[in-house]
Amino acid sequence: MYKISFPHMGKYHVPIKRLMETLVGEYGEVFAAPPITKRTIEVGTKHSPEFVCIPFKYNLGNFIESLDLGANVLFHTSGDCRMGFYNEVQEQILRDLGYEFKLCILETNARNRSLRDFHAMFKNLNPRLTYAKTISAILLAMRIIFAMDKIEKYVRENIGFESQAGELEKIENEFLRNVAKVKNFLGVGAVYRKYIKRLRAVKLSKPEKPIKVGVVGELYVLMEPFSNYFIEKELAKYGIQVTRFIDVSYLLFSPKHKIKNLLKESDGYVSYEIGADGTDSVAKCVYFAKNGYDGIIHLKPFGCTPEVNSIPIVQRVSEDYEIPVLYFSFDSQTSETGVKTRLEAFYDMLEMKRGTQ
């Protein structure tokens, strides 16, 4: 009997768990790693090389906590930067610690991923798996991801303005619980429509022109709120409308994420790809600058090379368009107070600017 587990990133354990359960069938039991806590990052850091970036440490912590609960098959993804090599290092570290398990890699890069490899990987776990089933499971998971990203986007843009705090999040969580249980493709649409309607019915007190901030940067720290000290929630407390483009639907399936389009969007600031999400960060900063946003927040793990590449260019965008950019570098040692102090000052600055215009 396989006991299958995988690391966390935001709320994506919902579709991933569903996908794997369908594919593995009666041959295995699927569970997401226990929710990330301080303990996760502590054990992750303890067994990681000191200078590796923070997603590595979170993933490793997740793996250890899953293995301690009896997992014997672990799933991980590939990556466009050095993250692509992480799974091999992590596998070795875990084996050195004495764990026994099988590691499977989900290829995420559009250039390398193939349906055949994906199917073969799961066929290995479930000999009765058919191609038809693989395809339908993938389509269902995609559909769930699209729906939850749309719901999350609505919540993100409005959570700072709810009349009664916590309402939107409560509905979103209920949506996630229900969307995990749908029978098929059509079910997702029905659940989505039901909950987006309920979300739209929540009373908001939104000013006509709220302060708008765009967030850009490395994908993991953008999408895993624990790793960025719940920065979007903090911004919402100040009544700031937050826009972020990067989510799983965008990264994996959006044509806008194609490098050709990103280079076009970055309007001459970059003329060739600068690695992983670096190009994306520049392109989106240009977008935010041109579209009347008040400020930009740039997030990266400490030592993230693609984002370090993007910073000088982002700085030029910031100077040319006179749009302030706040930079954060996250590591396991980052002080939460430091993050909060900078955010508070950033908000004060944006508000002061608004006040005089």
Partner: protein, 309 residues
Amino acid sequence: MKAYIGIDIGSISTKGVIIDGDANILAESYLWTEGDPIGAVKRVLKELEQKKPAGVQVKAVGTTGSARKLIGVVLGAQIVKNEITAHAVGTMSRVPDVRTILEIGGQDSKIILLKDGIVTDYAMNTICAAGTGSFLMSQAKRLGLAIEELGELALKSQSPTRIAARCTVFAESDLVHKAQIGHKKEDIVAGICNAVVNNYLNNVGKGKRVLAPAVFQGGVSKNVGVVRAFEQILGHKVYVDEFGHLMGCLGVAVLAKKSGKEADFDFGVQDISFVTRGRECERCPNNCEIISVYRGEELLDSWGNKCER
């Protein structure tokens, strides 16, 4: 006469001012925090009370600095503000056309850019304590000098020693090495001042344009050696206000006045005993550290929890 108190509780020093309605300083206090923010604030209040002119009634209190939240609760402050905003507001009340604020404190440093009286950009050093006051302090000790002598001595130097500025660890070993091969003390001290400035401009300034008029403040601005190093490297004059070390508390006093909330402040708070208790929650593996503040036995406030429990 109505007056307002601003208190800036930093990691190394605690500063306090009383201002009148036009942001004129009526009384000031500056002393070491010594790891006891509540005790330091009590001493600051005592000094302010003694220096305060007769007939002044304090109407509002503001706190800033790293212990702003704790002290804000203890004093029942009208406003609790981060040090970046406080410094900007304080400096603008004295130099309205300031474009750049350079600040080097005991444990952190900041740069704030302003235009037409608005903060347009800022940065704070993130991870490293290089190029801050505590670095200067430890190096002065190593050279057997008092921190106050450092600046004057640096001015005597004709050819400052080159000292690696990237990181305090490298700077320190470089400094030992240079001393042992016979560099003069004043040259080494001037070298340290240059290292602090270079480190600041590289790590905090990171390519931001330092436009004139620039104001230099924070504890390190008392060091004339560092001031000269700034002027040489930037190529324009750097102003140091005699009240430079008080800009944070001045700013938050101005903000307290602007908050519009008023209540008579009682200096008797110095005699009340405040206790803080820290514990780990232990209800989930996150183990949030909860800090609770008590006045006598009465719970004033607590924070640190991540969830609703």
